[in-house]
Symmetry: C2
């Protein structure tokens, strides 16, 4: 515990916070973007659970992204991103986008069907739902940026299947 | 679809957005606050799924709250809130805090065990985890405020049970 200012501004430790956050279940998503070249070699993506709805009218959501991840630079340069929400059968897609070095950047989009959305960001064709977005505002928060996004297009993909959910260090459906 | 500016700034409809967001699974939480009087009559709370981690170091999370809900005024006036993450057996707690008029404000905290945390905001004793927080920054986003919060204390409560998750209009564990 670190006393920041006054008696109330103590801070929980990063370790206690990380351990606690493992108990906040989150939908598994792939955040994607594109460099504007119009070819799939310019696509980037990362796995994330830090996505939430902000307002429905106008349609707005937010995404928190670590500034150190490879995709961050493309997201900020292009000003667009897409949120691809994964279903229970898509843990293999998740693996391709999780962690560093598991899969070369150009291989992340192989073995699953992706197409460019209105913004140019890639959309996973059989995701539970995709949100194609233009970034309206970026808020710096120490190691991360919070991207507040206007939703350009929503694609529900067919029947509702169970979602892929992260909880307590593992994935469930 | 509304054309905002240029060809790319079209907007999804609120209805399409709401329907799509039903497919983004979210952990069920109760967001609480207190009016500073030090008595439980000053406690307020609402059910929410729009919570996500921002950074671990410093420990920070964010919560989106509609400015029209009854608890909003107390949250902004006090500058504190707590996030109480519900387990599978706590759907009765969720019901007390969901929607309007289901339960009178002073009855929301009955029939489950709550205690004041460091900030004064009430913590649910058998929640999966609680995060007691001081609001660091408030960002207005049309109908909602985004509260970026410094986490003061994290309480893991005993064994990990299954979480209570909202998906496609219903609650699951």
């Amino acid at each position: 515990m670190t006393v920041l200012e006054g008696t109330m501004r103590v801070s929980a430790t990063p370790e206690a916070f990380r351990r606690g956050m493992r108990r906040l279940a989150g939908a598994c998503t792939i955040i994607t973007s594109a460099d504007g070249s119009g070819v799939s070699e310019g696509w980037v993506g990362l796995a994330a659970t830090a996505v939430c709805s902000v307002t429905a009218d106008p349609p707005r959501l937010l995404v928190c992204v670590n500034r150190n991840v490879w995709a961050h630079k493309t997201i900020t340069a292009s000003g667009v991103l897409a949120v691809n929400v994964l279903g229970r059968a898509q843990d293999a897609v998740l693996s391709r986008f999780s962690g560093a070095g598991v899969c070369a950047p150009e291989e992340k989009f192989h073995s699953s069907k992706w197409r460019a959305g209105i913004t140019g960001a890639p959309l996973l064709e059989d995701a539970l739902v995709t949100f194609d977005c233009v970034i309206a505002e970026t808020i710096a928060a120490s190691t991360h940026d919070i991207f507040i996004c206007d939703v350009v297009e929503v694609n529900d993909h067919g029947a509702v299947t169970d979602p892929l959910v992260y909880f307590n260090g593992a994935f469930f459906s």
